[in-house]
Symmetry: C2
Subunit: 222 residues, 2 copies
DNA sequence: GTCTATAGCTTGATAGAC
DNA sequence: GTCTATCAAGCTATAGAC
């Protein structure tokens, strides 16, 4: 609506993003996608070369934007803290805030995209390789920053901590509605403000707790 | 091998559990399942009535066992602490330890099962309703216990905290192999001992951090 | 670039013999 | 309970007209 002209390629990307996020890859047919997009079935193969390349294009489209924004903010908090090391809270903010901001202020496309990310992150199969391809370089940079921010922590604790961190984020982005049910409506899975207020503090405290645990027990324990 | 006689029903459950965990529901065909199980294709419909009922039976089979063990341990830690309230660490232990123990000492079936749980937990579609049906009653009991263990925390913080907690657990159970790649082999996603040493401390610290945040800011902030 | 038409295959499910 | 044989429906992908 905002954009005067949407190309066929964009229509297909938008429709597929929405449906893949809602039902997963295999449960969504090209007929549903082209129906939703209002274009002909054969055009998927013309523009993307198949169903899988279409999926890859979806992951890449917003992934590149997200990576750029995350790295921009990481650089900013590092500069703001220099010459001291950044705090874990600042690193975590640079990692989470772009997502939360896009959820708040950008269109429903980003919403579907993050839901899709949540699905593919926990999904078996080839989708995870795409995930890795798009995000690993950026993630490695953030893990380095976390290590700098918690110099007392063992590297293993940081890696596992990142795993927990991304798991907590992922389930929140999936918006399964489970939270709504369990809390009898007190909390809503799509309440970005509530998530923003809690995810950072939870993760930061968890990472600091892990770092302390490592320091307390001397060092390695498995 | 250990069991002398495995019924056709069990063979089908075992094979389907393994394949659904590895490839998801829609990407696994009944022909693959019956082939893996070494039984005839038509027997799925005879014994279970279809593909979806088979999936539901898988979720339910070990879910009942897990729920029972979790509640048994929760009762135990509550009794051990009485008349004082249990600590969050003890509640979290009663929630995580059954899974970790099954992973350590029980067969590969549990391994597949947890991997499947991780998939269905973040999955869109109807699978999540099954998840809710099997686990919600037990989960509500644990959430109550968490509230008792952190009396200063706002209920919203506990609900969101449970969401983060289960997200961290879920991604760890999925064993995506991403951790192995990111750490260049230093950590392995299937290292149960490493997970056991870190998941509890991370989550406990996170919950305590959330509870403090709530106390510090007076109370509600979204 | 877009559309029609269809090839070629796989799927979940079932009827009926044993 | 098990197996053979098969059906109807759905799928992705493509060849070729426009």
């Amino acid at each position: 609506m905002a954009r005067p002209k949407r190309t066929t390629k964009e229509k297909l990307l938008d429709a597929a993003e929405k449906l893949f996020a809602r039902k997963g890859f295999h449960a969504t047919s090209l007929r549903e996608i082209t129906g939703e997009a209002g274009v002909d079935l054969a055009l998927v193969n013309y523009h993307f070369g198949g169903k899988k390349p279409l999926f890859a294009a979806i992951l890449e489209r917003r992934g590149a934007v997200l990576n750029e924004e995350r790295l921009r903010r990481l650089t900013a908090v590092r500069r703001a803290a220099a010459p001291q090391a950044v705090s874990p809270e600042a690193v975590i903010g640079a990692f989470f805030d772009p997502i939360l901001d896009f959820l708040d202020h950008a269109g429903p496309g980003w919403h579907s995209y993050f839901s899709l990310l949540a699905w593919v992150n926990n999904s078996p199969e080839w989708g995870r390789r795409l995930m890795s391809k798009t995000f690993d370089a950026t993630v490695r940079e953030f893990i380095r920053a976390l290590m700098e921010s918690l110099p007392g922590a063992a590297p293993e604790d940081i890696f596992w901590g990142y795993n927990f961190l991304t798991g907590a984020l992922t389930l929140s982005l999936a918006e399964t509605g489970r939270l709504d049910v369990l809390s009898d409506g007190l909390c809503r899975s799509n309440d970005v403000a509530a998530l923003r207020a809690r995810l950072g503090p939870f993760v930061a405290a968890g990472l600091r707790g892990l770092a302390q645990r490592g320091a307390r027990s001397g060092q390695a324990q498995s």
